[in-house]
Amino acid sequence: MESLTFRHTTQKALPGAKAQAITGVVASGNLEVLLERALPASECTVEIETPIRGYGEVWAAVVADFVARAQPGGLRITVNDGGARPDTVSLRLLQGARLMEV
């Protein structure tokens, strides 16, 4: 297993008051994303555990793109990966952020 942690600063807090949400499932080509409102409004962390080693740069790019688009300030995001492709990861992260907003 490979563990990756990314820390970002955001311009604003993610809207909504929901404390936590989960989406996805740990299955082949899929992943689960746990989101918790646990950080100061200008911070976001994404922690990943993946059985596929050596794709740290791809994860970094997908996470940076997600943070830029969603501005998920205040969220601690934890990912259990089942070998998902980058587009699936991107969709799941956005889906998770949306669940926290409603």
Partner: protein, 310 residues
């Protein structure tokens, strides 16, 4: 974790039970917003064994447990996520179900609902998984003896196989859909051990007519046959709670007698369709294609498929 994934005001309410995730099933089964999870994913109570095999873990270990309301009645619920490692029983997965059943002894809910979706024991933590199966079966008998019905709902892609099939056999009532299957040894296991001539696991029609919902319902192995919708499972669960049998010596003796008679009557059959013919079904070959309404009408005509035993 109470997000409402299925909105009853939309078509989503009729969503497929088979296709839904374990969380979506719970969400649609219970009264809106009533589910309260115990040991939720935020507690990260994950498998201690899977990292040894370099395998990914799930936050809830594929088992979601908690309390909720079903048409106002307090119930305890457990749901297996069949897409995570085939819904298999590992140490944490099993311990969460055992804990829920033991809590039922103290809380005395109107029922415990188990949403099965499992291939059986998780091979990577087999000893702990096997122990969990035994502990769950023991706990279910204790809960039933205390007067709380335990209802199994089976309609997921993994079915209820292996130890999951054994646990299902200890429930007060079982609800099954077309897609749900109940058995101990799965099709591939039988084929591996006994050869394709004994059981061809690639013959999907054979698999479904031997282990599928209609066959189990016809032979009294399940007590209700439901459409593959969340709404149908909710209604069937309510009906099952109202009709749960007593759990006493008379019930067990009646069940033993029923099983002995079943073996004597059907023991020499080579195919499920032969059994259906002996049960009095006029056109056994047509059974797999029957709609739920047609199948229920057939059951009513046979009059022998509902037992208070089990």
């Amino acid at each position: 974790m109470g997000e409402r994934i299925i909105d009853p005001a939309t078509e989503g309410w009729a969503a497929s039970w088979y296709e839904a995730s374990a969380r979506a099933r719970l969400d649609g089964l219970l009264d809106a917003g009533s589910f309260r999870e115990v040991i939720g994913p935020e507690q990260r109570r994950m498998s201690p064994h899977l990292p040894l095999f370099d395998l990914p873990r799930a936050f809830d270990d594929g088992m979601i447990v908690g309390s909720g309301r079903l048409d106002g009645k307090p119930v305890l619920v457990a749901a297996q996520e069949g897409r995570f490692m085939g819904g298999a029983f590992g140490e944490v997965h099993g311990a969460k179900l055992v804990g829920l059943l033991r809590a039922a002894l103290a809380l005395k809910p109107d029922a415990v609902l188990i949403l099965f979706d499992t291939g059986g024991v998780r091979l990577q933590e087999a000893n702990a998984g096997e122990t969990a199966i035994a502990e769950v079966m023991r706990a279910i008998t204790q809960v039933r003896a205390a007067g709380v019905p335990v209802i199994g709902l089976i309609g997921g892609r993994a079915g209820a196989y292996g130890g999951g099939g054994l646990i299902a056999g200890t429930c007060s009532r079982l609800v099954v859909s077309e897609g749900g299957r109940i058995s101990v040894s799965g099709p591939e296991v039988i084929e591996t051990n006994r050869g394709a001539e004994e059981f061809d696991s690639r013959d999907r029609a054979l698999v479904w007519r031997t282990m599928g919902g209609k066959h189990r319902r016809l032979t009294g192995g399940a007590d209700a046959y439901a459409d593959d919708t969340v709404r149908a499972f909710r209604q069937a669960a309510l009906d099952a709670i109202a009709r749960a049998p007593a759990f006493d010596l008379a019930t067990l003796e009646a069940e033993q007698k029923r099983l002995e008679e079943r073996l004597a009557r059907f023991g020499d059959c080579r195919d499920a369709t032969e059994i259906w013919g002996r049960l009095g079904v006029n056109d056994p070959a047509a059974v797999p294609a029957l709609t739920t309404a047609e199948f229920d009408a057939l059951l009513a005509g046979l009059g022998e498929t509902t037992h208070d035993a089990r």
